[in-house]
Protein backbone atom coordinates (compact mmCIF):
# COMPACT_ATOMS: atom_id res chain seq x y z
CA UNK A 1 0.00 0.00 0.00
CA UNK A 2 2.76 2.42 0.90
CA UNK A 3 2.14 5.98 1.89
CA UNK A 4 -1.09 7.61 1.09
CA UNK A 5 -1.20 10.40 -1.45
CA UNK A 6 -3.80 12.76 -0.02
CA UNK A 7 -1.79 15.15 2.18
CA UNK A 8 -4.52 17.48 3.41
CA UNK A 9 -3.68 17.41 7.08
CA UNK A 10 -7.08 18.04 8.59
CA UNK A 11 -9.16 15.90 6.22
CA UNK A 12 -11.39 13.38 7.90
CA UNK A 13 -10.64 9.70 7.53
CA UNK A 14 -13.87 8.59 9.16
CA UNK A 15 -16.99 10.66 9.60
CA UNK A 16 -19.96 9.61 11.68
CA UNK A 17 -23.15 11.64 11.38
CA UNK A 18 -26.04 11.10 13.79
CA UNK A 19 -25.30 7.41 14.10
CA UNK A 20 -27.75 5.30 16.08
CA UNK A 21 -27.42 1.56 16.56
CA UNK A 22 -29.99 -0.65 18.23
CA UNK A 23 -29.90 -4.37 18.94
CA UNK A 24 -32.82 -6.71 19.39
CA UNK A 25 -31.48 -8.78 22.24
CA UNK A 26 -33.05 -11.51 24.30
CA UNK A 27 -34.05 -8.96 26.92
CA UNK A 28 -35.68 -6.55 24.50
CA UNK A 29 -34.30 -3.76 22.38
CA UNK A 30 -31.02 -2.16 23.43
CA UNK A 31 -29.88 1.17 22.11
CA UNK A 32 -26.14 0.65 22.02
CA UNK A 33 -25.34 4.00 20.44
CA UNK A 34 -27.50 7.08 20.09
CA UNK A 35 -26.93 10.04 17.82
CA UNK A 36 -23.16 9.86 17.61
CA UNK A 37 -21.54 12.57 15.54
CA UNK A 38 -17.81 12.23 15.46
CA UNK A 39 -14.88 12.74 13.15
CA UNK A 40 -11.67 10.77 13.07
CA UNK A 41 -9.09 12.85 11.25
CA UNK A 42 -6.63 11.48 8.76
CA UNK A 43 -3.52 10.41 10.62
CA UNK A 44 -5.13 10.83 14.00
CA UNK A 45 -4.84 8.56 17.01
CA UNK A 46 -8.27 8.63 18.60
CA UNK A 47 -8.81 6.96 21.94
CA UNK A 48 -12.29 6.05 23.14
CA UNK A 49 -12.97 5.44 26.80
CA UNK A 50 -16.15 4.74 28.67
CA UNK A 51 -17.74 2.35 31.09
CA UNK A 52 -18.54 -1.21 30.12
CA UNK A 53 -21.54 -1.58 27.83
CA UNK A 54 -21.53 1.96 26.47
CA UNK A 55 -21.18 0.76 22.90
CA UNK A 56 -17.45 1.05 22.23
CA UNK A 57 -17.12 -2.32 20.56
CA UNK A 58 -20.30 -1.66 18.64
CA UNK A 59 -18.82 1.58 17.34
CA UNK A 60 -15.76 -0.26 16.03
CA UNK A 61 -17.94 -2.88 14.33
CA UNK A 62 -19.84 -0.10 12.60
CA UNK A 63 -16.64 1.59 11.48
CA UNK A 64 -15.36 -1.76 10.22
CA UNK A 65 -18.54 -2.31 8.21
CA UNK A 66 -19.35 -5.49 10.12
CA UNK A 67 -22.58 -4.02 11.43
CA UNK A 68 -24.91 -1.47 9.90
CA UNK A 69 -26.33 1.67 11.44
CA UNK A 70 -30.02 2.01 12.15
CA UNK A 71 -29.82 5.74 11.57
CA UNK A 72 -27.14 8.09 10.40
CA UNK A 73 -24.18 7.63 8.06
CA UNK A 74 -20.56 6.61 8.30
CA UNK A 75 -18.07 7.65 5.65
CA UNK A 76 -14.52 6.59 4.97
CA UNK A 77 -13.06 9.56 3.13
CA UNK A 78 -15.96 10.40 0.84
CA UNK A 79 -17.16 6.81 0.46
CA UNK A 80 -19.93 5.41 2.66
CA UNK A 81 -18.87 2.43 4.74
CA UNK A 82 -20.95 -0.52 3.62
CA UNK A 83 -18.89 -3.67 4.02
CA UNK A 84 -15.67 -4.79 5.68
CA UNK A 85 -12.52 -4.03 3.75
CA UNK A 86 -8.78 -4.45 3.93
CA UNK A 87 -8.35 -0.70 4.53
CA UNK A 88 -9.99 -0.93 7.99
CA UNK A 89 -8.48 -3.68 10.03
CA UNK A 90 -9.97 -4.60 13.40
CA UNK A 91 -8.16 -6.05 16.33
CA UNK A 92 -10.95 -7.61 18.38
CA UNK A 93 -11.47 -7.59 22.11
CA UNK A 94 -11.18 -11.38 22.18
CA UNK A 95 -8.19 -12.53 20.19
CA UNK A 96 -9.64 -14.06 17.04
CA UNK A 97 -6.62 -16.17 16.13
CA UNK A 98 -7.33 -19.12 13.86
CA UNK A 99 -6.69 -22.40 15.69
CA UNK A 100 -5.88 -24.27 12.47
CA UNK A 101 -2.91 -22.02 11.71
CA UNK A 102 0.30 -21.57 13.61
CA UNK A 103 1.46 -18.19 14.90
CA UNK A 104 3.39 -17.23 11.78
CA UNK A 105 0.58 -18.32 9.46
CA UNK A 106 -1.88 -16.32 11.52
CA UNK A 107 0.18 -13.19 11.06
CA UNK A 108 0.59 -14.02 7.38
CA UNK A 109 -3.17 -14.34 6.86
CA UNK A 110 -3.76 -10.63 6.32
CA UNK A 111 -0.46 -10.16 4.49
CA UNK A 112 -1.35 -12.87 1.99
CA UNK A 113 -4.44 -10.89 1.04
CA UNK A 114 -2.25 -8.06 -0.17
CA UNK A 115 -1.50 -8.80 -3.79
CA UNK A 116 1.45 -6.46 -4.31
CA UNK A 117 3.92 -8.31 -2.08
CA UNK A 118 6.17 -11.27 -2.73
CA UNK A 119 5.95 -14.25 -0.38
CA UNK A 120 9.45 -13.50 0.94
CA UNK A 121 8.43 -9.94 1.79
CA UNK A 122 5.35 -11.22 3.55
CA UNK A 123 7.30 -13.63 5.70
CA UNK A 124 9.89 -10.99 6.49
CA UNK A 125 7.20 -8.55 7.52
CA UNK A 126 5.38 -11.16 9.63
CA UNK A 127 8.61 -12.01 11.45
CA UNK A 128 9.35 -8.33 12.00
CA UNK A 129 6.06 -7.78 13.80
CA UNK A 130 6.33 -11.01 15.75
CA UNK A 131 9.72 -9.89 17.00
CA UNK A 132 8.26 -6.51 17.83
CA UNK A 133 5.74 -8.08 20.18
CA UNK A 134 8.45 -10.33 21.59
CA UNK A 135 7.25 -13.59 20.11
CA UNK A 136 9.92 -14.20 17.47
CA UNK A 137 10.67 -17.61 18.94
CA UNK A 138 7.05 -18.77 18.90
CA UNK A 139 6.28 -18.64 15.21
CA UNK A 140 5.64 -22.39 14.92
CA UNK A 141 3.43 -22.62 18.00
CA UNK A 142 -0.29 -23.10 17.71
CA UNK A 143 -2.54 -20.50 19.39
CA UNK A 144 -3.69 -22.94 22.09
CA UNK A 145 -0.10 -23.40 23.20
CA UNK A 146 0.22 -19.72 24.12
CA UNK A 147 -0.87 -17.82 27.18
CA UNK A 148 -3.69 -15.32 26.93
CA UNK A 149 -1.29 -12.39 26.86
CA UNK A 150 0.84 -14.04 24.18
CA UNK A 151 -2.23 -14.65 22.05
CA UNK A 152 -3.16 -11.02 22.33
CA UNK A 153 0.33 -10.04 21.24
CA UNK A 154 0.03 -12.31 18.19
CA UNK A 155 -3.30 -10.70 17.41
CA UNK A 156 -1.60 -7.32 17.69
CA UNK A 157 1.14 -8.41 15.28
CA UNK A 158 -1.49 -9.77 12.92
CA UNK A 159 -3.36 -6.48 12.82
CA UNK A 160 -0.25 -4.33 12.44
CA UNK A 161 1.49 -6.43 9.78
CA UNK A 162 -0.74 -5.65 6.78
CA UNK A 163 -0.25 -1.95 7.50
CA UNK A 164 -3.88 -0.95 6.99
CA UNK A 165 -4.88 2.63 6.41
CA UNK A 166 -7.17 2.61 9.42
CA UNK A 167 -6.57 0.45 12.45
CA UNK A 168 -9.47 -0.19 14.82
CA UNK A 169 -8.34 -1.66 18.12
CA UNK A 170 -10.62 -3.00 20.81
CA UNK A 171 -8.82 -3.13 24.16
CA UNK A 172 -5.70 -4.57 22.60
CA UNK A 173 -3.60 -4.44 25.75
CA UNK A 174 -6.08 -5.58 28.37
CA UNK A 175 -4.54 -9.02 28.92
CA UNK A 176 -0.93 -7.88 29.13
CA UNK A 177 1.34 -7.37 32.09
CA UNK A 178 2.35 -3.79 32.89
CA UNK A 179 5.86 -4.17 31.54
CA UNK A 180 4.94 -5.58 28.13
CA UNK A 181 2.15 -3.09 27.93
CA UNK A 182 4.36 -0.09 28.44
CA UNK A 183 6.85 -1.39 25.93
CA UNK A 184 4.07 -1.84 23.38
CA UNK A 185 2.78 1.69 24.02
CA UNK A 186 6.19 2.87 22.87
CA UNK A 187 6.19 0.59 19.83
CA UNK A 188 2.68 1.54 18.81
CA UNK A 189 3.49 5.23 19.05
CA UNK A 190 6.59 4.58 16.95
CA UNK A 191 4.57 2.77 14.28
CA UNK A 192 1.91 5.45 14.41
CA UNK A 193 4.29 8.34 13.78
CA UNK A 194 6.44 6.49 11.26
CA UNK A 195 3.63 5.01 9.17
CA UNK A 196 1.16 7.88 9.52
CA UNK A 197 -1.78 5.69 10.32
CA UNK A 198 -5.24 6.51 11.51
CA UNK A 199 -5.95 4.59 14.68
CA UNK A 200 -9.10 4.28 16.75
CA UNK A 201 -8.37 2.62 20.06
CA UNK A 202 -10.95 1.52 22.59
CA UNK A 203 -9.84 1.05 26.16
CA UNK A 204 -10.95 0.96 29.77
CA UNK A 205 -7.66 2.35 30.90
CA UNK A 206 -7.75 6.14 31.01
CA UNK A 207 -4.00 6.52 31.38
CA UNK A 208 -3.54 4.37 28.33
CA UNK A 209 -5.99 6.54 26.41
CA UNK A 210 -4.21 9.74 27.41
CA UNK A 211 -0.81 8.24 26.71
CA UNK A 212 -1.71 7.15 23.19
CA UNK A 213 -4.48 9.41 21.92
CA UNK A 214 -4.29 12.73 20.12
CA UNK A 215 -7.83 13.08 21.36
CA UNK A 216 -9.70 11.15 23.98
CA UNK A 217 -13.43 10.69 23.50
CA UNK A 218 -15.36 9.89 26.65
CA UNK A 219 -18.56 7.90 26.16
CA UNK A 220 -21.43 7.72 28.59
CA UNK A 221 -23.69 4.67 28.76
CA UNK A 222 -27.41 3.88 28.44
CA UNK A 223 -27.60 4.73 25.62
CA UNK A 224 -24.04 5.18 24.39
CA UNK A 225 -23.33 8.84 23.73
CA UNK A 226 -20.33 11.12 23.40
CA UNK A 227 -19.98 12.81 26.76
CA UNK A 228 -16.86 14.86 26.26
CA UNK A 229 -13.85 15.16 23.97
CA UNK A 230 -10.37 15.94 25.33
CA UNK A 231 -7.50 17.27 23.24
CA UNK A 232 -4.21 15.80 24.38
CA UNK A 233 -1.50 18.17 23.26
CA UNK A 234 1.44 16.37 24.83
CA UNK A 235 4.49 15.79 22.61
CA UNK A 236 5.36 12.25 21.47
CA UNK A 237 6.77 9.86 22.41
CA UNK A 238 4.90 10.02 25.67
CA UNK A 239 5.85 8.22 28.81
CA UNK A 240 3.21 6.70 31.00
CA UNK A 241 4.57 8.19 34.21
CA UNK A 242 4.92 11.73 32.88
CA UNK A 243 3.28 14.05 35.49
CA UNK A 244 1.55 16.14 32.79
CA UNK A 245 -0.02 12.96 31.45
CA UNK A 246 -1.11 11.94 34.92
CA UNK A 247 -2.90 15.21 35.55
CA UNK A 248 -4.71 14.99 32.21
CA UNK A 249 -5.75 11.45 33.05
CA UNK A 250 -7.08 12.69 36.38
CA UNK A 251 -9.14 15.24 34.52
CA UNK A 252 -10.70 12.57 32.30
CA UNK A 253 -11.35 10.32 35.31
CA UNK A 254 -13.03 13.22 37.02
CA UNK A 255 -15.35 13.71 34.07
CA UNK A 256 -16.08 9.98 33.91
CA UNK A 257 -17.03 9.69 37.56
CA UNK A 258 -19.02 12.93 37.57
CA UNK A 259 -21.46 11.47 35.08
CA UNK A 260 -24.69 10.70 36.94
CA UNK A 261 -24.91 6.94 37.18
CA UNK A 262 -28.13 5.48 35.90
Amino acid sequence: MGLRSEPTAASAALTLRHVTKRFDGASGQVTALEDITLEVREGEFLAIVGPSGCGKSTLLSLLAGLEHTNEGTINLGDQPVEAPGRDRLVMFQQDALFPWLNVLENVLFGLRLKPDLTEAERIESARYYLNLVGLGDKERARPHELSGGMRQRVALARSLAPNPRVLLMDEPFSALDALTREQLYGDLQGIFTKRKKTIVLVTHNIREAVCLGDRVVLFSPNPGKVQQVFDIGLPRPRRLNDPALASLAAEVTEALTSHPAK
Partner: protein, 258 residues
Amino acid sequence: MASKLPRPVIPTLVAILLVGGWEWYVRSGRVSEVLFPAPSHVLRWFWDSLLSGELLSATWVTMRRLVIGFAIGAALGVPLGALCARVRWVRDTLGVLALGLQTLPSVCWVPLALLWFGIREEAVLFVVVMGTLWAVVLAVQESVLNVPPLYLRAAQTMGSKSWHLWSRVIFPAALPGVLSGMKQGWAFAWRSLMAAEIFVVIVTGFGLGSLLNAGRELLRMDQVMGVMAVVMLVGLLADLVFFAPFERWLRRSRGLER
Protein backbone atom coordinates in the same frame (compact mmCIF):
# COMPACT_ATOMS: atom_id res chain seq x y z
CA MET B 1 -3.50 -55.10 42.79
CA ALA B 2 -5.27 -55.51 39.47
CA SER B 3 -4.03 -52.08 38.47
CA LYS B 4 -0.46 -53.43 38.50
CA LEU B 5 -1.18 -55.61 35.44
CA PRO B 6 -0.52 -54.14 32.00
CA ARG B 7 -3.77 -53.03 30.46
CA PRO B 8 -4.06 -55.63 27.63
CA VAL B 9 -3.72 -58.59 30.00
CA ILE B 10 -7.32 -58.83 31.15
CA PRO B 11 -8.92 -58.42 27.71
CA THR B 12 -6.57 -61.05 26.29
CA LEU B 13 -7.41 -63.49 29.07
CA VAL B 14 -11.12 -62.91 28.58
CA ALA B 15 -10.80 -63.45 24.83
CA ILE B 16 -8.86 -66.70 25.29
CA LEU B 17 -11.40 -67.92 27.80
CA LEU B 18 -14.35 -67.09 25.56
CA VAL B 19 -12.92 -68.59 22.39
CA GLY B 20 -11.60 -71.62 24.26
CA GLY B 21 -14.96 -72.16 25.95
CA TRP B 22 -16.75 -71.87 22.65
CA GLU B 23 -14.38 -74.37 21.00
CA TRP B 24 -14.77 -76.82 23.86
CA TYR B 25 -18.54 -76.45 23.91
CA VAL B 26 -18.92 -77.20 20.20
CA ARG B 27 -16.46 -80.12 20.33
CA SER B 28 -18.23 -81.64 23.28
CA GLY B 29 -21.09 -82.33 20.88
CA ARG B 30 -23.78 -80.41 22.67
CA VAL B 31 -24.65 -78.35 19.56
CA SER B 32 -24.69 -79.13 15.88
CA GLU B 33 -21.38 -78.21 14.27
CA VAL B 34 -23.24 -77.26 11.13
CA LEU B 35 -25.31 -74.60 12.83
CA PHE B 36 -22.71 -73.50 15.28
CA PRO B 37 -19.18 -74.03 14.00
CA ALA B 38 -16.24 -73.93 16.34
CA PRO B 39 -13.65 -71.12 16.10
CA SER B 40 -11.20 -73.56 14.57
CA HIS B 41 -13.62 -74.26 11.71
CA VAL B 42 -14.11 -70.60 11.04
CA LEU B 43 -10.36 -70.16 11.04
CA ARG B 44 -9.91 -73.05 8.63
CA TRP B 45 -12.49 -71.52 6.27
CA PHE B 46 -10.66 -68.23 6.56
CA TRP B 47 -7.36 -69.84 5.67
CA ASP B 48 -8.77 -71.89 2.75
CA SER B 49 -10.64 -69.01 1.19
CA LEU B 50 -7.60 -66.81 1.61
CA LEU B 51 -5.48 -69.35 -0.27
CA SER B 52 -8.08 -69.88 -2.99
CA GLY B 53 -8.22 -66.13 -3.50
CA GLU B 54 -12.01 -66.10 -3.02
CA LEU B 55 -11.91 -63.97 0.09
CA LEU B 56 -9.51 -61.40 -1.28
CA SER B 57 -11.41 -60.97 -4.51
CA ALA B 58 -14.70 -60.58 -2.63
CA THR B 59 -13.12 -58.07 -0.27
CA TRP B 60 -11.72 -56.20 -3.21
CA VAL B 61 -15.09 -56.02 -4.99
CA THR B 62 -16.79 -54.77 -1.83
CA MET B 63 -14.10 -52.25 -0.94
CA ARG B 64 -14.15 -50.86 -4.44
CA ARG B 65 -17.90 -50.32 -4.29
CA LEU B 66 -17.63 -48.81 -0.87
CA VAL B 67 -14.82 -46.41 -1.71
CA ILE B 68 -16.36 -45.28 -4.99
CA GLY B 69 -19.84 -44.89 -3.51
CA PHE B 70 -18.50 -43.10 -0.47
CA ALA B 71 -16.36 -40.78 -2.59
CA ILE B 72 -19.34 -39.85 -4.78
CA GLY B 73 -21.54 -39.32 -1.72
CA ALA B 74 -18.95 -37.17 0.03
CA ALA B 75 -18.09 -35.22 -3.10
CA LEU B 76 -21.76 -34.36 -3.57
CA GLY B 77 -22.48 -33.94 0.10
CA VAL B 78 -19.83 -31.34 0.92
CA PRO B 79 -20.93 -28.69 -1.61
CA LEU B 80 -24.61 -29.42 -1.02
CA GLY B 81 -24.13 -29.09 2.73
CA ALA B 82 -22.26 -25.84 2.25
CA LEU B 83 -25.07 -24.58 0.04
CA CYS B 84 -27.62 -25.53 2.68
CA ALA B 85 -25.68 -23.56 5.27
CA ARG B 86 -25.27 -20.59 2.98
CA VAL B 87 -28.68 -20.20 1.37
CA ARG B 88 -31.73 -20.03 3.55
CA TRP B 89 -34.24 -21.49 1.12
CA VAL B 90 -31.95 -24.39 0.23
CA ARG B 91 -31.69 -25.18 3.93
CA ASP B 92 -35.46 -25.05 4.24
CA THR B 93 -35.90 -27.44 1.33
CA LEU B 94 -32.89 -29.66 0.73
CA GLY B 95 -31.80 -29.48 4.36
CA VAL B 96 -35.15 -30.69 5.60
CA LEU B 97 -35.28 -33.37 2.92
CA ALA B 98 -31.82 -34.54 4.00
CA LEU B 99 -33.01 -34.75 7.57
CA GLY B 100 -35.86 -37.00 6.49
CA LEU B 101 -33.84 -39.16 4.14
CA GLN B 102 -31.07 -39.61 6.67
CA THR B 103 -33.47 -41.41 8.99
CA LEU B 104 -34.45 -43.74 6.16
CA PRO B 105 -32.28 -46.88 6.31
CA SER B 106 -30.66 -47.00 2.91
CA VAL B 107 -31.70 -50.63 2.31
CA CYS B 108 -35.06 -49.09 1.57
CA TRP B 109 -33.51 -47.75 -1.63
CA VAL B 110 -32.68 -51.24 -2.91
CA PRO B 111 -36.00 -51.95 -4.67
CA LEU B 112 -35.99 -48.58 -6.41
CA ALA B 113 -32.33 -48.88 -7.32
CA LEU B 114 -32.94 -52.26 -8.93
CA LEU B 115 -35.84 -50.89 -10.95
CA TRP B 116 -33.94 -47.83 -12.08
CA PHE B 117 -30.54 -49.34 -12.76
CA GLY B 118 -31.20 -53.06 -13.16
CA ILE B 119 -29.12 -55.71 -11.41
CA ARG B 120 -25.93 -53.84 -12.06
CA GLU B 121 -23.04 -52.11 -10.38
CA GLU B 122 -24.82 -48.75 -10.57
CA ALA B 123 -27.62 -50.05 -8.39
CA VAL B 124 -25.22 -50.95 -5.58
CA LEU B 125 -23.38 -47.67 -5.93
CA PHE B 126 -26.63 -45.78 -5.79
CA VAL B 127 -27.55 -47.42 -2.50
CA VAL B 128 -24.13 -46.65 -1.05
CA VAL B 129 -24.33 -43.03 -2.22
CA MET B 130 -27.76 -42.65 -0.63
CA GLY B 131 -26.32 -44.04 2.59
CA THR B 132 -23.44 -41.55 2.62
CA LEU B 133 -24.87 -38.42 1.09
CA TRP B 134 -27.45 -37.24 3.61
CA ALA B 135 -25.26 -37.77 6.64
CA VAL B 136 -22.52 -35.73 5.00
CA VAL B 137 -24.90 -32.98 3.86
CA LEU B 138 -26.27 -32.59 7.37
CA ALA B 139 -22.85 -32.68 9.04
CA VAL B 140 -21.42 -30.08 6.69
CA GLN B 141 -24.46 -27.84 7.06
CA GLU B 142 -24.31 -28.06 10.85
CA SER B 143 -20.61 -27.46 11.16
CA VAL B 144 -20.58 -24.54 8.73
CA LEU B 145 -23.45 -22.91 10.60
CA ASN B 146 -21.49 -23.40 13.83
CA VAL B 147 -18.31 -21.65 12.71
CA PRO B 148 -17.73 -18.92 15.32
CA PRO B 149 -18.74 -15.56 13.82
CA LEU B 150 -15.64 -14.00 15.35
CA TYR B 151 -13.42 -15.89 12.86
CA LEU B 152 -15.53 -14.66 9.98
CA ARG B 153 -15.43 -11.09 11.20
CA ALA B 154 -11.68 -11.17 11.74
CA ALA B 155 -11.08 -12.65 8.31
CA GLN B 156 -13.40 -10.18 6.63
CA THR B 157 -11.68 -7.15 8.08
CA MET B 158 -8.41 -8.53 6.74
CA GLY B 159 -9.99 -8.49 3.30
CA SER B 160 -11.04 -12.13 2.98
CA LYS B 161 -14.22 -12.76 1.07
CA SER B 162 -16.16 -15.24 -1.10
CA TRP B 163 -13.97 -18.17 -2.17
CA HIS B 164 -11.01 -17.18 -0.03
CA LEU B 165 -13.25 -16.93 3.01
CA TRP B 166 -14.72 -20.35 2.29
CA SER B 167 -11.50 -22.18 1.59
CA ARG B 168 -9.27 -20.53 4.18
CA VAL B 169 -11.63 -19.87 7.06
CA ILE B 170 -15.05 -21.51 6.92
CA PHE B 171 -13.89 -24.89 5.73
CA PRO B 172 -10.89 -25.25 8.07
CA ALA B 173 -13.02 -24.08 10.97
CA ALA B 174 -15.74 -26.57 10.08
CA LEU B 175 -13.35 -29.44 9.41
CA PRO B 176 -13.75 -31.33 12.71
CA GLY B 177 -17.51 -31.45 12.24
CA VAL B 178 -17.20 -32.35 8.59
CA LEU B 179 -14.87 -35.19 9.50
CA SER B 180 -17.24 -36.69 12.03
CA GLY B 181 -19.98 -36.42 9.41
CA MET B 182 -17.78 -38.29 6.97
CA LYS B 183 -17.20 -40.97 9.57
CA GLN B 184 -20.89 -41.37 10.08
CA GLY B 185 -21.42 -41.40 6.32
CA TRP B 186 -18.80 -44.13 6.03
CA ALA B 187 -20.57 -46.25 8.62
CA PHE B 188 -23.90 -45.80 6.87
CA ALA B 189 -22.35 -46.63 3.51
CA TRP B 190 -20.83 -49.79 4.91
CA ARG B 191 -24.14 -50.96 6.35
CA SER B 192 -26.11 -50.15 3.24
CA LEU B 193 -23.61 -51.89 1.03
CA MET B 194 -23.76 -55.09 3.06
CA ALA B 195 -27.53 -55.01 2.97
CA ALA B 196 -27.55 -54.52 -0.77
CA GLU B 197 -25.05 -57.28 -1.38
CA ILE B 198 -26.90 -59.75 0.81
CA PHE B 199 -30.26 -58.87 -0.68
CA VAL B 200 -29.39 -58.90 -4.32
CA VAL B 201 -27.16 -61.17 -6.30
CA ILE B 202 -25.32 -58.66 -8.36
CA VAL B 203 -23.95 -60.21 -11.47
CA THR B 204 -21.23 -57.64 -11.90
CA GLY B 205 -19.22 -58.70 -8.90
CA PHE B 206 -19.15 -61.12 -6.02
CA GLY B 207 -18.65 -59.12 -2.82
CA LEU B 208 -18.43 -59.98 0.85
CA GLY B 209 -22.19 -59.75 1.26
CA SER B 210 -22.71 -62.18 -1.59
CA LEU B 211 -20.15 -64.48 -0.02
CA LEU B 212 -22.06 -64.37 3.23
CA ASN B 213 -25.33 -65.10 1.49
CA ALA B 214 -23.75 -67.97 -0.43
CA GLY B 215 -22.62 -69.39 2.90
CA ARG B 216 -26.20 -69.35 4.07
CA GLU B 217 -27.45 -71.09 0.95
CA LEU B 218 -24.75 -73.77 1.23
CA LEU B 219 -25.42 -74.12 4.94
CA ARG B 220 -21.78 -73.23 5.54
CA MET B 221 -22.03 -71.44 8.82
CA ASP B 222 -18.28 -71.31 9.15
CA GLN B 223 -18.29 -69.16 6.02
CA VAL B 224 -21.09 -66.96 7.33
CA MET B 225 -19.29 -66.36 10.58
CA GLY B 226 -15.97 -65.91 8.84
CA VAL B 227 -17.40 -63.24 6.53
CA MET B 228 -19.03 -61.52 9.49
CA ALA B 229 -15.65 -61.36 11.17
CA VAL B 230 -14.04 -59.96 8.02
CA VAL B 231 -16.76 -57.32 7.66
CA MET B 232 -16.13 -56.28 11.24
CA LEU B 233 -12.39 -56.21 10.75
CA VAL B 234 -12.62 -54.09 7.60
CA GLY B 235 -14.85 -51.61 9.40
CA LEU B 236 -12.45 -51.41 12.34
CA LEU B 237 -9.45 -51.10 10.08
CA ALA B 238 -10.96 -48.23 8.10
CA ASP B 239 -11.48 -46.40 11.33
CA LEU B 240 -8.07 -47.25 12.72
CA VAL B 241 -6.11 -46.51 9.56
CA PHE B 242 -7.99 -43.60 8.14
CA PHE B 243 -10.34 -41.76 10.46
CA ALA B 244 -8.77 -42.16 13.87
CA PRO B 245 -5.29 -40.77 13.03
CA PHE B 246 -6.79 -37.86 11.12
CA GLU B 247 -9.12 -37.09 13.95
CA ARG B 248 -6.36 -37.32 16.52
CA TRP B 249 -4.11 -35.04 14.51
CA LEU B 250 -6.95 -32.54 14.14
CA ARG B 251 -7.73 -32.51 17.83
CA ARG B 252 -4.14 -32.32 18.92
CA SER B 253 -3.15 -29.53 16.55
CA ARG B 254 -6.05 -27.41 17.74
CA GLY B 255 -5.70 -28.16 21.41
CA LEU B 256 -9.03 -29.96 21.64
CA GLU B 257 -7.43 -33.05 23.18
CA ARG B 258 -8.67 -33.75 26.63
